[in-house]
């Protein structure tokens, strides 16, 4: 144990002097994901707000033909812009997104009760104008339906006669749901932060030590290899934990920077969440540390280890994506799956739901058990001549 502490202290000192480790563990790891999160939220929420509230500017040709029609659309949020000479060319050359043309016959047809025609001029290959087109279409549709109903009523016919089927869309992609989508990513972000925080040290103290040819002299000391491994693992875990704590604090700050008119995002990141999340994550951080060391021990060089661990960063994405793709109710067995269990629990903590101690306890014991098993595997690897000898 004393020797493990010696190894631990040395690994920490050495890492604190390494700019790459510091940058990764204490700056990039903790800040990258909260910033990413912040930008994503602002982009998504901002776009939604923009779509829903901002007037839709549309060049309208032939406004004078149908002033009432234009006014009705403007009440729904359209902003009529003055006419241009060649709207087709303007749209083709992408100077304009969308043009509404009211045909000259419109007024006559309207008066006679014939279908009055308007044209939408747009370029359907442009993804970004699709939303605007749909919005204008629905405005015109709404106006048309309302007018049609009034005409039927005027003739003493109930408008429901021409509506044998009524369809009401109940779009659940409200801001809450979108918020939940983002929240679903948060546990992954936290795990990713822990992974990035420990990665450099895990590589440096195994594959790096081999590459620099210092592992052989180290193993010639009268030290139990389990003590060496334990020291390295704890040092990795400490950096991983430091990264995680900084990351959580960054999320607290980010939580305050969220668009204030979107309380539905329901980000409950306070001191309570931070401490519970840390408690849930601690066993996982140990598992991550030993798993990273294990994987890095297979590599002959720093770069090789980096490739392996870079791929390993995608692993915790699986439960996150799974939960988003196939929403599942939290169940007890989930807690018993390392990575998955922590993600479920953190998600529940985020939503402010009560998390039972049993689930946390099971999660922690299974995770620690897995860490111990991988520790055993790594120890066997460390004992092999293949790993001990650099050249």
């Amino acid at each position: 144990m004393k020797q493990a502490r010696v190894v631990f202290v040395k690994e920490c000192i050495e890492s604190l002097r390494d700019r790459r480790v510091l940058l990764n563990a204490l700056v990039l790891g903790p800040l990258l994901t909260p910033l990413l999160f912040l930008v994503l939220v602002h982009l998504i929420v901002g776009r939604e707000l923009e779509k829903a509230e901002k007037p839709l500017p549309v060049v309208v040709i032939g406004q004078k033909t149908a002033p009432n029609f234009v006014e009705a659309l403007e009440q729904q949020g359209m902003l009529a812009l003055p006419e241009v000479s060649d709207p087709e060319a303007a749209v083709r050359e992408q100077r304009l997104d969308l043009v509404l043309r009211i045909l000259p016959r419109f007024a006559d047809d309207w008066r006679e009760g014939r279908p009055a025609q308007v044209e939408l001029i747009y370029d359907s290959s442009r993804q970004e104008v699709r939303g605007e087109v749909e919005r204008l279409e629905s405005m015109i549709q709404a106006f048309s339906t309302r007018t049609g109903s009034l005409r039927l009523l005027a003739r003493g016919i109930a408008p429901s006669v021409i509506m044998p089927v009524v369809m009401a869309g109940r779009d659940q992609a409200t801001p809450q749901a979108r918020g939940a989508l983002l929240l679903g990513m948060l546990p992954y972000f936290l795990i990713l932060t822990a992974l990035i925080g420990g990665m450099w040290l895990a590589i440096d103290s195994t594959a790096g030590e081999r590459e620099r040819q210092s592992l052989e002299p180290l193993l010639v000391n009268p030290v139990d290899r389990s003590a060496v491994l334990l020291g390295k693992m704890l040092a990795t875990a400490v950096f991983s934990m430091a990264s995680l704590i900084l990351g959580l604090l960054a999320f607290v700050v980010v939580g305050h920077l969220m668009p204030s008119d979107e309380p539905s995002l329901g980000l409950r990141i306070g001191s309570g969440f931070v401490s519970s999340a840390l408690a849930v994550m601690t066993p996982l951080v140990l598992l991550i540390a030993i798993a990273q060391i294990w994987v890095a021990s297979f590599a002959r060089s720093f770069r090789e280890a980096q490739t392996y661990l870079g791929l390993a960063q995608l692993l915790p994405l699986i439960p996150s994506v799974l939960m988003m793709a196939v929403p599942m109710r939290p169940r007890l067995w989930m807690a018993a799956v390392p990575l998955f269990g922590q993600q479920v629990t953190i998600l529940r903590l985020l939503r402010g739901e009560a998390v039972d101690a049993l689930a946390i306890g099971i999660g922690a014991s299974v995770t620690l058990g897995a860490a111990a098993a991988i520790f055993g595997l790594t120890l066997r690897l460390f004992g092999s001549e293949r790993v001990a000898i650099s050249s």
Binding site: K2, Q3, V6, V7, K10, I13, E14, R17, D18, E209, R212, Q213, S214, L215, E216, P217, L218, L219, V220, N221, P222, V223, D224, E385, A388, I389, S390, S391
Partner: protein, 245 residues
């Protein structure tokens, strides 16, 4: 005292060491001499317990290395073939790290380290990070690291490699000092001058086997050559013929 008894080791199809036996006595410098690839490093690695022999046994001060590897490691100081230092630690920190791993207290480690760095004339380098050290400075640091626990037996794999004239002379003085203190010193080398200048006993290895074992004088007489280098060439040549036959 280090005893190698019929050591065998193969890597896949390559038989690196095929029945090496010799004894390195206390108070003597024993030289393991042989061309590159003769099996010197593999033999030493089995002696300092990094590798397990396929067959045969290693005893250090009478202790079986297979049965008590940690106790054996406690009794030997090793300058391995791989002698990497920690670049972001100073020379002193590198040496103290190993001292602490040997169970010394921080104070003992500091004291012992200062002593060694003084003996190796490294005081001016002591607190510089080893990144940017010359080859000679790195070897000296690694030697200090190997001697930090005051071992009875010292194994050095090609200690003279990369050293300039001054550093080499210092190294020889250090090794002779260890001999005078009654320790068992075992070095491997492919450089004839190193053996002539230092060793009390020479074990010549070629093709994974011991082809000659004795004092420099005895070897010269045995091969009936006046010059030790010629004697060396002769026994190696004889072993090659034997190997081919």
């Amino acid at each position: 005292m280090i005893e190698a008894q019929d050591l065998w080791k193969s890597f896949g199809a390559t038989q690196a060491v095929a029945g090496v036996s010799f004894v390195a006595q206390d108070g003597q410098i024993t030289g393991l001499l042989g061309p590159n690839g003769a099996g010197k490093t593999t033999t030493l690695r089995m002696l300092y317990t990094l590798m397990r022999p396929d067959r045969g046994s290693v005893r250090v001060d009478g202790i079986d290395a297979a049965a008590a590897p940690v106790e054996v490691r406690r009794r030997i100081g090793v300058l391995p073939d791989a002698r990497g230092l920690y670049k972001r630690l100073s020379a002193r920190e590198n040496v103290e790290y190993f001292a602490r791993l040997h169970g010394m207290t921080a104070q003992q480690a500091r004291h012992r380290c200062s002593e060694l760095l003084r003996d190796l004339q490294m005081q001016s380098l002591a607190d510089r990070r080893t990144e940017g050290f010359s080859q000679g400075e790195r070897v000296k640091t690694a030697i200090a690291r190997a001697l930090v626990h005051d071992p009875r037996n010292v194994i050095l794999d090609e200690p003279g490699n990369g050293l300039d004239v001054m550093a080499n002379r210092l190294l020889r003085d250090v090794l002779r000092g260890l001999r005078t203190e009654g320790r068992c010193v075992l070095i491997s080398t492919h450089i004839m001058q190193e053996v002539v200048a230092l060793c009390d006993r020479i074990v010549i290895i070629a093709y994974g086997r011991v082809v000659a074992d004795g004092t420099p004088e005895a070897l010269r007489e045995h091969s009936q050559e006046r010059n030790l280098e010629d004697a060396f060439m002769k026994v190696i040549g004889a072993a090659a013929l034997e190997g081919n036959a």
